[in-house]
Symmetry: C2
Subunit: 297 residues, 2 copies
């Protein structure tokens, strides 16, 4: 078996090489834009979403090589969302992964356009690569990613999050769940499903991957919220306690730390049950569930 | 023969119906985001890019029905670019087509996210529709549009434009041409080519459409620059004389009005020559060239 951290460590240089190949070089004009795109993408992410693409595909028998472009595309989409979320008009963050955010390092205009270009580059790559994949597979890959990003996915969740910050929702429990399902969960779901799409897996297999992705999204978010309460800024690479200070909807804020930990356990159990039905790579997926549930990010 | 303005008038309600079908309704949450997307898309554009998609496809025998989703997608992409260009960090415009810009009518965060969602929705629609088109055609459509939007297309041109405003380029003639080729031209090229892709036209036909699109882009931009010098704000729906006030690179600014008019004539002649080689709809295309060269927008 391969533990998830070993899987990530082995995958990471391959994902980074693919990102390096797909992104325009810094010397190509406009250099400023390409520098900003690369600054944000090569800023030290863990490459969790690429790992989900790779796992989702390998579970159903696709060779890793055929999954790398989609893996890189999902990392570009994740990065686009961070660059735009960090902007002054949104979360107004100065630090990301211990470094100045893109609009601090460059400027706001470049951050907006670099985010746009990353989203665009990601969807274009999904449409083009791998060239050996049937056109229908590439078109579906774009649709899966686009659906996860869209106004009813990640972007919609971001807007709902902004709205909740401005006025406390009437039903905060429901709002919290719905925001996270869209804002964090949808991209994790799409990553696993994209792997399955490239493996040309059956529809019920894609459904299983989607359900696993939803559980992982919840695991990830409850874990993240707990980390914001319990972690320190240095380990986080961003300011700890920021959620509470901003009156953000969070699991520990709404349910308390103990109850949040209990829910984390329930979701992890559900994820393990789903993982048991996978035809390959079960141990790596189980190890990932353990990692996401108890990680020190 | 159908004159271009008649073609536009006949096409417009069909494009708008398609946009209405493809965009989430305002009552769907997050309502604020969907309202902003619709506010910008249904803000009175001429639907020039949809007309180019339709013409590019009809020229090579595709039925109009099969071209409407791509036509709508190109209008979404055009709108996305306007919403982001108008932002305070970029052109900082308060008016667009005689109405408050999206960030004025809503706010900056919503304008950023609505732009993101429009780009995403456009590329997703190209991947999905028409469902009857081969997957390879839909995947190629995404790639054609994405290439035109990307860091070496429209977004790249926007960055180069910002750079030129901040410090006057060493070779302004070359900068002007290169900015407009990417910022305006690339989307017009992609619109015509998308039509050809959906008509499953041969590669040399797509090449002809691309060359025609480049000429149209130049025609469009020189015409736009002249209009800024010669037009009035009411007819423009935006502030006339803004380019000169902002020290923007423009054709009349660099070459004078008379020389710009002469160049407009040369480009129109080139476009007419290319149009003569089209197998259908020649008269409508010729009428469009006349319209773009002498329009009162």
């Amino acid at each position: 078996m391969t533990a998830f951290l070993d899987y990530l460590a082995e995958l990471r240089p391959q994902v980074d090489r693919t990102l390096d190949r797909l992104l325009p070089t810094e010397s190509e004009p406009p250099a400023l834009l390409h520098s900003a795109m690369r600054y944000s993408v090569f800023g030290g992410g863990k490459r969790i979403r690429p790992a989900l693409v790779a796992l989702g595909g390998e579970v159903y028998g696709a060779p890793l090589e055929s999954l790398l472009p989609a893996a890189a595309a999902m990392e570009m989409i994740h990065t686009f969302s961070l660059v735009h979320d960090d902007l002054p008009a949104l979360d107004d963050d100065d630090l990301r992964r211990g470094r100045p955010t893109v609009h601090r390092q460059f400027d706001e205009a470049i951050a907006i356009l670099a985010g746009d270009a990353l989203l665009n580059c990601a969807l274009t790559c999904l449409a083009l690569e791998p060239a050996s994949a049937p056109g229908a597979v590439r078109a579906r890959a774009v649709a899966v990613a686009g659906h996860a990003v869209g106004s009813q996915g990640m972007i919609g969740g971001q807007v709902a999050d902004l709205e909740a910050e401005r006025s406390w929702p009437e039903n905060p429990e429901q709002a919290l769940e719905s925001i996270h399902r869209r804002k964090t969960g949808s991209l994790l779901v799409a990553s696993l499903v994209l792997g399955g799409v490239h493996a040309e897996a059956a529809e019920d297999a894609l459904e299983l991957l989607a359900r696993l992705g939803e559980a992982l999204g919840l695991l990830f978010q409850i874990g993240d919220d707990l980390l914001d309460v319990e972690g320190d800024s240095a380990a986080l690479g961003k300011t700890a306690g920021k959620d509470a200070a901003a009156h953000k909807l969070t699991y520990p804020g709404l349910y308390g730390v103990a109850e949040s930990r209990r829910r984390l356990g329930l979701v992890a159990a559900e994820a393990r049950e789903l993982a048991a039905a996978l035809p390959r790579r079960r141990e790596t997926v189980l190890s990932m569930i353990g990692y996401l549930g108890e990680r020190d990010r």
